[in-house]
Symmetry: C3
Subunit: 258 residues, 3 copies
C-alpha cells in the first residue's frame, strides 16, 4: 500500500513551489501517493487553512501524513512542528494551523536542517519530515516533545435570549456563507439573521427557495450555511468572514442593536 501524503498550502498552483515540495517528497519517499487538499488558501490566512484542514483530514485513511503550510512567520523563530492525532500525522508551522487536531495530539518540534532556506520551509523543513513519517519513522524520532503548541481556536457560538449567535467563518467558491453554528441549531428554528440586517428562511438545501433568495440550512460540514440560489450570498449581502449570524425560533432581527 503506498503511503498517502496530503498537501494544504497557500502556495498557489502557478509557481514551482508545490512542485519543488512534491519532488522532495517523492525523492525521499518513492512511491508515495500525493493528494492536494488545496493550494489556494488566501495568502497567510491561517484561519482559512485551519478550516479546510478540519473538514478534510479525517476523510483520509489512518496513517495519512498531512503537510500543512500557511506560514507568514517563516524565517522567524516560530517553531516547526510534527504531530500525531487520531492515527494521522501532521507537519506544520506552530502558528495555530493544527488547532483542529491538537486536543488529542502528540507534538514534537522539528529541527531546521543545515542549509535550509529562510523562506521556504515547506520544501526544506516540512517535506523532509513528512517523508520520514510516510516511511514509518516514529514521531518521537523527529524531535523533542512540545507541550504548548500555539492554539487559535475558531470562534465559538453562544446562546443569547433563545438564539444561537455565531459568525461566518469561511466563504466558499459558490459564495455560500459557512458559519460556526452547529447544524442542529437550525432544527425548529424559524429564521436566521446575517450581519444584523439580512434574514434567511430555513430550508434543507439551496434549492428550497426561489432564484436568488436566501436560505439557511445544515451544511455538509456540520454547521449552518447560508446560500442564495444560483448566485453568491456573500456578494449579494456584501458580508464576509466574521459577520454575525443569529439562529432563532422567531424573528431574530429585532434583537440586534437593541
Amino acid at each position: 500500500m503506498p503511503q498517502l501524503i496530503t498537501l494544504l498550502t497557500d502556495f498557489g498552483q502557478s509557481d514551482s513551489y508545490v512542485a519543488e515540495v512534491k519532488g522532495v517528497l517523492l525523492s525521499a519517499a518513492p512511491g508515495a501517493t500525493l493528494i492536494d487538499i488545496s493550494h489556494e488558501v488566501p495568502l497567510g490566512m491561517v484561519v482559512a487553512g485551519q478550516y479546510l484542514l478540519s473538514r478534510a483530514w479525517h476523510r483520509y485513511p489512518t496513517g495519512t501524513v498531512h503537510l500543512v503550510v500557511v506560514d507568514p512567520g517563516v524565517g522567524t523563530p516560530r517553531r516547526a512542528l510534527a504531530a500525531s492525532a487520531g492515527g494521522h500525522y501532521f507537519v506544520a508551522p506552530d502558528n495555530g494551523l493544527l488547532t483542529p487536531v491538537l486536543d488529542a495530539a502528540t507534538v514534537v518540534q522539528l529541527a531546521i536542517p543545515d542549509g535550509a532556506s529562510a523562506t521556504f520551509h515547506g520544501r526544506d523543513v516540512f517535506a523532509p519530515a513528512a517523508a520520514r513519517l510516510a516511511l514509518g519513522e516514529a514521531l518521537e524520532g523527529l524531535g523533542p516533545a512540545v507541550a504548548d503548541p500555539v492554539r487559535s481556536p475558531l470562534p465559538a457560538p453562544r446562546e443569547e435570549r433563545g438564539c444561537v449567535v455565531g459568525e461566518v467563518i469561511y466563504i466558499d467558491r459558490f459564495g455560500t456563507l459557512i458559519t460556526n453554528v452547529p447544524a442542529a441549531a437550525i432544527e425548529g428554528a424559524g429564521q436566521v439573521t446575517i450581519g444584523g440586517e439580512f434574514s434567511a428562511g430555513v430550508g434543507r438545501t439551496f434549492r428550497d427557495v426561489e432564484l436568488g433568495s436566501l436560505v439557511a440550512f445544515g451544511g455538509s460540514g456540520g454547521t449552518v450555511e447560508i446560500a442564495a440560489r444560483e448566485r453568491s450570498a456573500a456578494q449579494a449581502l456584501g458580508v464576509g468572514v466574521g459577520a454575525e449570524v443569529r439562529v432563532g425560533a422567531t424573528d431574530t432581527r429585532g434583537e440586534v442593536g437593541g
Copy 2:
C-alpha cells in the same frame, strides 16, 4: 494495476470539497489512482461538463471510473446514476451530463445512503459508488436499471444553402471558439462567419494568419475552431457560447439576416 478514477466537477480547487471526495475514494478504494479532469466547470453549467467529458473519457484505459458532478439540482428528487459504456464506468446526477456516452450505456439508479448530506452528493453518494465500481463490483449491484436517463444533446449542426450552420459550444482558456461543426466541413470551405458578422479565413492552425487575425481550422477535438493568433477570439469578437457559425465555400456573410 491500480484502478483509475477521474474527477470532473464544478467544485473549484480552493475549498475542501474535492479533497473530501478524494478522501472518501481513497478510504474505500485504497491504492486507486485519482486524476483530475477539471474542477473549473462554470458553476452548474451542465453543457460545459458534457463537452469536457466527451473530449476526455475515451483517452483513458478501459475500466476507468469517471466521477462527474455538475449538479445544480442536488437535494431535489433528481436521480443519481451509475453507468457503463464502452468499457468505462460513470457516476453522475441524472441531468444530462452523461449524454455523450448514453447511446450505448447500461444505467442504474443509485440509492441515497442514510445520513447523506442534502447538498454534497459528490462526497456522500457518488464517491462511494465510484469506489465500489473501482473495486470491481458489478454495475447491476449498485441499483435498479434506469431506462430513461435524462438526455440533453449538444445542438447539432444543419446544412443550409451550401453552408454548414452550427454554433459555438465551448470557449477555452485561450479564447478559442470551439464549434459543433465537424472538422471535415472545413475542407474545401472558403470562409467561416461567426455571429453573422465576423469572418475568418480557413487555415490549418492559428499560426496561419497574421498576429491578431481570425482563422478557422479543424481543431484537436474533431470540430471547427476559430482562433485569433496570440489573442482571445472570444474577447476580440465579443461572442460567446451559442453564437452562430457558418462554414461555406464562398462568402457566408451575405446569407445571414437576408
Copy 3:
C-alpha cells in the same frame, strides 16, 4: 517502482487539455505516477516555462520524465524534441524551453505521427514520446540526434562599478520579484535598487522589515529576490519582468542614469 512523469504547460486547468494528455500517458504507460509542475505558465511565455523547469526538475528522482509544453509555434515546422540530461528525460518543442538542461544533454528529434492534430502536439506528439521513455525505451530509439537545439538562455548578470547588475526574471504569486543575480552577491551588500528608482534594504527574509517595506534577500531558488512584507512588491513598485536590479555595497541609485 512506478515511473514518474511531470507535466509543465500553459494549458490551464479549466479545459480538457491536461486531462487528454494524462489519458494518453496512462493508456500507454499504465501505472505511471503523474505530477503537475504547473499548467499556469502565462500563455506562450517560453521564458517563464524555462524558469519553472529550472527550479523543479532536479528535485525529482533520477529517471523522471518531464513533459514540458509551452508551444506558441505548434503546427509550424519547429522541431519536437526528446532529451536526456542528468539522468532525467525531457520532451518539449524546440523553442528554447529546454535551455536550462541543454548544456549536458543528448537530444533527438521526434517524428510527428500520422494523424497528429496540427494544434495539440502535447497530446499527439509529446505524450506518446514521454510514455515510451517512462516505459524504459532508449532515447536514441525515438529519433535522429539533434546537434543544434534552440537555446534562449535567461539573461546573465554583469559586474559594473562594484555592483552586480541583473534583472527581474520572474514574479511569483506573492508578487515577489525574482532576479537572475546570484544570492551570494547580497552578502556584504548594503543596498539593492530596482528599476533605477526604488531601493530595498538587505535582509534574510521578508519578515526582516516593517509591514509593506521592501527587502532584498537570498531566495529559495538561489538568486536575489525582492519582496514587500505582506503585500506584492511587483504591484507596489509597478515593475515587471526585465526591470533592472543593482546589488551593491553602497548606494546603488546614484549610478543609474547618471
